[in-house]
Symmetry: C2
Subunit: 346 residues, 2 copies
């Protein structure tokens, strides 16, 4: 029998905790026999949810944690003070090797801080980037970085490109992923100071399939597999993607309800349209990994329902099976030796 892959899940994080989190965890266990889920949170609340389902009890464990980090709390302080919070307890299990991965839908700030402070960075990784998958016309692209560490340096972006490329190749199965840097024009001489400094460094990386700049307009068409940017720009891209998407879809729906004729038409197009728009739905990909840590940390949307929680847990299985952290370690060390750059600042 193969060894189980253990995923510690914050049962108390997100808008629909604990019900949807527990449901998603059970669905993951029932659909993948190699995964064991450790639900961390208020034991009585978690057990009450678990009673609703049928599952292999040997692969679901509950670990009690009495505190909850709220969305609005300052993350650094919360991680430091709330030692018995579900996030801190679950992350410590990853640190201590009791779990391979963490999945959480709670405060993004707390997950990012906890990942760095508790789980810790792989040696050589300067900054762990948060890297969600964006749906595109052709499938999905990895947007790296969307985290909380703004004002990045060129060396950070080069590492993001390497980690993102490794992720797309081994977790998503994209051969020779196309890597591009977000810019305001296609020409090499365009861009802000950060992009201008980073561009030639990326060109030098022989292990990358660097295809140059990508304008934001070309992201939705799937022009690149790995989209490199600093976190402030990444945050704008991620959130505008969701914002324009949901506004347009709601406008399309309202537009169809204008009159009797259009309402009749709406009934007829609905099934086909639903299928099409599903491809533009971010929840199918699970959460965003925080790459470059000693264990895997996955942040799912605060609004996650069971399906996203399940997909996030399953993503951890592929990540672990592919020995991603070994590959990232090897990829980053190449960089260190080549450039003699050993700076490890946050």
């Amino acid at each position: 029998m193969q060894e189980l892959i253990k995923v510690a899940v914050d049962a108390m994080g997100g808008d629909h905790a604990p019900s949807e989190i527990v449901k998603g965890a059970v669905e993951a266990v029932n659909s993948q026999e190699q995964v064991k889920v450790i639900l961390v949170g208020r034991e009585s609340a978690v057990q009450a949810e678990l009673q609703k389902y049928q599952y292999d009890a040997s692969r679901v464990e509950v670990v009690n944690a009495t505190e909850i980090i709220e969305m609005a709390e300052p993350p650094v302080q919360a991680i430091r003070m709330k030692k018995d919070s579900s996030i801190v307890v679950a992350m410590k299990m990853v640190k201590n090797g009791e779990a391979e991965a963490f999945v959480g839908a709670g405060s993004t700030g707390a997950v990012l801080v906890g990942g760095q402070v508790i789980v810790g960075r792989i040696k050589g990784v300067e900054r762990p980037p948060l890297a969600p998958l964006l749906p595109t016309e052709k499938g999905a692209s990895l947007l790296i970085d969307c985290g909380a560490n703004v004002d990045a340096r060129p060396s950070h972006l080069v590492q993001f490109a390497k980690m993102g490329s490794i992720y797309m190749e081994h977790v998503m199965g994209v051969k020779n992923p196309r890597v591009a840097i977000v810019n305001i024009g296609a020409e090499e001489e365009k861009g802000n100071a950060l992009v201008k400094e980073t561009f030639p460094l990326l060109k030098e990386c022989k292990e990358l399939n660097f295809i140059g700049s990508i304008e934001a307009r070309d992201i939705p068409s799937g022009y690149a597999d790995v989209i490199v940017c600093e976190a402030f720009a990444g945050n704008i891209i991620l959130k505008l993607y969701e914002g324009v998407g949901s506004t347009l879809i709601s406008m399309v729906k309202k537009g169809m309800m204008t009159n009797l004729r259009s309402k009749t038409g709406a009934l007829l197009v609905k099934p086909a349209l639903k299928e099409t728009l599903k491809r533009f739905d971010t929840s199918q990909y699970g959460g965003a990994p925080l790459l470059g840590l000693k264990g895997l940390v996955v942040k799912t949307h605060g609004s996650s329902k069971a399906v996203e929680v399940r997909n996030s847990i399953l993503q951890c299985v592929t990540f672990t099976q592919q020995q991603m952290n070994e590959k990232i370690k090897a990829g980053i060390q190449v960089n260190e030796n080549q450039e003699g750059n050993g700076s490890h600042g946050i």
Copy 2:
């Protein structure tokens, strides 16, 4: 009789020049009796297009310019070398007072450089921002800055906020426009170094209705009237807006063509949907003004058709009638006196 407002139009710029440019100019003249259009470009080509239409000949003038600045040319060099290009000749007319405004669909870089170098900045304006209108669920918001001057300073952003607020109030008729700064979270302590420095400066501006941060997700819903950011972020927002919008609309259209049932439905919903999506079409607003110059410079999309050219020309009429430059001058001077800041660097 009121004096005519003279708009110098680059007849040779954009994907559909000169045909759509000339057509849009004629439409503007025919729909607004106070405007006079000066078409600048190759005289024979422009005259050949003009022959197709009926119009008041006293309000359409053709000025010959033998050269054309191509899209790919380095802007600074092009403006310097091509003295007889349509952009340079038209902008010189604005500088010399022979026209109040310039409208062009050609190279963005050349229009921005020409605006600064030939038309020149209003005294006190540190950087002229390019400010397009974004369609939202509620109407339109001004995105300021989307220009080519990246890596802005806090004082630039404060001026952008002031100029944008004046524009929305007097050209778009929005009372007490809500001004917000693009950020990665709603809290004041969030953001990159630039945003953190700018935020308290905006709070201090009593003449602004500053409502704090805006996350990119909330832009499409129309949460703010004036959206302040530096040009790199602005460029991402503008282009992603267009990219996600066109990808989603093409997916919706394709989705409706999936099978016979959905195709029948598509025929029924089409008119209502078309009306709805028109509200999300940027061309209805004309081009983006480059604010803070001694004359008005408007950049329209490279892909502009006649309707966008016409709207851009009509926008110049409102701008001039509202004495926008006098208002911007007054707004910026308040700033200068208050802060004793007279730096005029590009």
